[in-house]
Amino acid sequence: MMKRYSTITLLLLTALCWMGCRKDTPIDEDGLLITDRAECYVSNFELLGSDFQTVRTKNAEIDTVACTIGVTVFYGTDLKHLYPQFTLVTDAKLDPKITGFTDFSDLATPRTYTVISGNRQVRKTYKVTVTVQPR
C-alpha cells in the first residue's frame, strides 16, 4: 500500500516538474504573440481623408519585391491629413504604428514603414509614394 502511494506521489511530482519547466509562449515588446511565420509583406493599402473616405483614385500599386506602394489621390486632397491603413500578412506588424492622421505633403520624400514578420526575424521597409491626380 505504502509502495503504491509513493509511486503515485513520485509520478505527480514528475508531472509538476515537467509542467513547471515548460517554455512560456513568446510575446514581443508590444504584447503580441511571436509565431513561426517568416512571411513579411503588405497585402493591401488604403488612404483616408479627413472625412474618413478614401482619397485613392484607384487601387494602390503594391510591389512586394521592390517594397514600394504607389497611390494616386484625388485632385485637391488635403495631403497633410491622411490616414494610412495597411493590411499585413498574418502575424506581421508595422513600425512605426499608425496612430492617427499623417502628413504626406512632402511628395519628394516618401514616407517609409517597416513590416516585421510574425517570427520578428524579417523586416522589410516599404516606401509609400503619393501622387496627386493631375488636372
Binding site: 479627413s50 485637391g76 488635403d78 491626380q133 488636372r135
Partner: protein
C-alpha cells in the same frame, strides 16, 4: 415498519411543499394615493438652441372623490418667446395611429414667465404638452421650469424640471446656393449673397460656393475660401475686397439632427466647436455631396461653424446648405 412510515411522511411532506411552492401569489390592485399627483418628462433631445422648442409632457391627476383639476401652469426661470404655449388638449391615439386632441380648457395664456391653462371641462387626469420657445436672451444661460396643477378642493402640486443649459450656437436652415449667383457665404451674417450684395459685405464673405465639371478630376460641388489658391476657384471672379482665408475641414456622414432633419440622432453641441482642432486644415473643400459637411473657422477666429449640404444638384449647379455657428470670441 418505522422506516416505511417515515418514507410515507417524507413523500407527503415533499408533495405538500411542491404544491405550496407552485402557488401563484395573489395580485393586489395597488391603492392609488388619495391626493392630487403629477409627473413630467422632457421630450426633446439634443442641445437647446434659441429659436427651437423644448417640449415637455406634464401629467396630473386626482381621484374623482377629491374634486377636479381647475388649472395647470408652467413657470420658466427665463421668459420664453411669444410662441411658448401649454397645450389645452389631451391626446389619445386612435386606431389609425393618429393623435386626436380633446380640449380640456381654454388656450394657454402667457403672463411674463408663467403660462397657464384654465380648465373648462371636468377633468380628473390629463397629460398636457408644454412647448417652450427658447429666446435669444437665454443663450449661454440655464433655464428651469416649475409645473403646477391646482384642483377644485384647493390642493396644489408642483414638479420642477431642469436646469437645462441653453446653447450658444446659432442656426440657419435651408440657404439656397447657386454657382455664379448666390454663391458668397458669410458665416458672420449666416447668409448667402450674390455678387452685388457680396461687394457691399466684402469683409464678411468667408466661403464661395462653386460647381465645376472638370474632365479627368472630380471637382463638382465645392466650398472654397476666397483667399485660397486660385486653382480651387477656377473661373471665379471675386468682388473687390473678398479675400478672407477661412479654414475648412471636410466631413462625411455627420448628419446633425437639427440641420439634416433626417432619422439620425446626431447633434452638434457647443462642446464640439470648443474642442474642434482646426490646426493645419486647408482653405477649401471640393467634391462635396449631399449629406456631407464642412467645419469652418473664420479668418478672424471669431466664429466656428458647421455647414451641412442638405442638397447638391449637379444639373442645376446649385444646392441647399444649413449652418450651425458658434461664437468663439
Amino acid at each position: 415498519m418505522n422506516a416505511k412510515y417515515f418514507g410515507y411522511t417524507l413523500g407527503l411532506f415533499s408533495l405538500c411543499l411542491s404544491i405550496v411552492g407552485c402557488k401563484d401569489k395573489d395580485y393586489a390592485i395597488p391603492e392609488p394615493k388619495n391626493e392630487l399627483q403629477n409627473d413630467c418628462i422632457k421630450r426633446t433631445l439634443g442641445p437647446n438652441l434659441a429659436g427651437l422648442n423644448i417640449e415637455f409632457a406634464y401629467a396630473m391627476g386626482l381621484p374623482a372623490t377629491r374634486g377636479k383639476i381647475i388649472s395647470a401652469q408652467v413657470e420658466a426661470s427665463i421668459q420664453g418667446d411669444t410662441a411658448t404655449y401649454l397645450e389645452n388638449k389631451s391626446y389619445y391615439t386612435n386606431g389609425s395611429g393618429e393623435d386626436v386632441g380633446i380640449p380640456i380648457g381654454d388656450s394657454s395664456v402667457n403672463q411674463g414667465n408663467v403660462t397657464t391653462v384654465t380648465f373648462t371641462k371636468d377633468t380628473n387626469a390629463v397629460t398636457l404638452r408644454y412647448y417652450y420657445r427658447i429666446p435669444k436672451a437665454a443663450k449661454g444661460k440655464e433655464v428651469r421650469f416649475t409645473f403646477t396643477a391646482k384642483s377644485s378642493n384647493g390642493e396644489t402640486v408642483s414638479y420642477v424640471m431642469g436646469p437645462y443649459a441653453i446653447s450658444n450656437m446659432d442656426m440657419a436652415l435651408d440657404l439656397p446656393v447657386k454657382d455664379g449667383d448666390a454663391c458668397f457665404i458669410s458665416v458672420a451674417d449666416m447668409a448667402v449673397y450674390n455678387e452685388k450684395d457680396a461687394t457691399a459685405n466684402a469683409d464678411k464673405i468667408d466661403l464661395v460656393y462653386l460647381y465645376r465639371a472638370i474632365p479627368n478630376i472630380t471637382f463638382k460641388h465645392a466650398l472654397v475660401s476666397p483667399g485660397a489658391d486660385t486653382a480651387y476657384l477656377p473661373g471665379v471672379v471675386l468682388p473687390a475686397g473678398v479675400n478672407r482665408v477661412t479654414k475648412v475641414k471636410k466631413t462625411w456622414a455627420l448628419r446633425d439632427f437639427h440641420l439634416a432633419r433626417l432619422q439620425y440622432g446626431i447633434y452638434i453641441d457647443d462642446v464640439d466647436f470648443r474642442q474642434l482642432d482646426m490646426t493645419g486644415t486647408p482653405d477649401y473643400a471640393i467634391n462635396l455631396k449631399s449629406e456631407a459637411g464642412v467645419w469652418v473657422e473664420t479668418a478672424d477666429g471669431k466664429y466656428r461653424a458647421y455647414i451641412y449640404i442638405n442638397k447638391a444638384d449637379d444639373g442645376k449647379k446649385s444646392g441647399t446648405i444649413s449652418m450651425k455657428r458658434y461664437t468663439l470670441k
